[in-house]
């Protein structure tokens, strides 16, 4: 599973992109977030306030209950500020 982090999420996790293999019990975005948070204080910090975290699966915005699988591309980022 490919994970991407943007803006200050990248700053806090310290990485922009990684390949991960979460346990089989992780079947949705919320589960993935819970698992990612166990990987260190940077991740714990990045996901500490989910109100300011947005997620996309395969480049489409999703809610936290969206299901995910091993071949998905999951991205985390703050609310967008372009334009």
């Amino acid at each position: 599973m490919k994970i991407l982090y943007f803006a200050w999420m990248r700053g806090k996790t310290g990485i922009g992109e990684e390949d991960v293999s979460p346990p089989e019990t992780v079947t949705d975005v919320a589960g993935l977030v819970a698992w990612l948070k166990t990987r260190g204080p940077g991740f714990e910090d990045a996901f500490s306030d989910m109100k300011v975290v947005r997620a996309a699966v395969n480049q489409e915005f999703v809610e936290l209950d969206a299901t995910i699988g091993p071949n998905d591309e999951v991205a985390f980022f703050p609310p967008v500020t372009g334009g």
Partner: protein
């Protein structure tokens, strides 16, 4: 049509290409967003726009398609830049051409409002107090919501 690029753009060139030879166009509305040198009362020396390559194009295509579905447009264009820009530089261009001005205005306004909350771009401002990611504004979410029709 949509384009995501690092380079600056020339408005007249873009709009000429947009309407070239189409004599059914009665009006073209365009909006150009540019870098301001102030934010929250602090001086901004420059800013860097980060984006999500792939998803950006996908979202802009969706937004552009939605505008063309809602209004009778002869042509439409979104150009969004990424990378580092200084005050006065152009960031984004949205333009809509239609037989009638109301459609051109509404569709253009819609494009920039939707883009503001749906296109994956993030601004990092270089302020005197240091570099800071810009917070999303409530007013942008409100501006997007006003175009909701229940089917969005």
């Amino acid at each position: 049509m949509i384009r995501v690029q690092k380079e600056d753009f020339d408005l007249a060139t873009e709009l000429s290409a947009l309407s070239a030879g189409n004599h059914n166009i009665g009006g073209i509305t365009s909006f150009v967003g540019q870098v301001r040198d102030m934010a929250d009362g602090e001086h901004v020396g420059a800013m860097t726009l980060e984006h999500y390559p792939g998803m950006t194009e996908k979202m802009l295509e969706q937004i552009d398609a939605e505008a063309n579905k809602r209004w009778p447009l002869e042509a439409s264009l979104i150009i969004h830049r990424y990378g580092r820009m200084e005050p006065g530089e152009q960031i984004v261009l949205v333009a809509c051409a239609s037989p009638h001005r109301e459609a051109a205005f509404e569709a253009c306004h819609f494009l920039i409002d939707w883009l503001k909350t749906k296109a994956p771009f993030w601004k990092l401002e270089e302020k005197d107090s240091g570099a800071a990611w810009v917070d999303a504004r409530e007013s942008d979410a409100d501006a997007t919501a006003k175009w909701d029709k229940g089917d969005a």
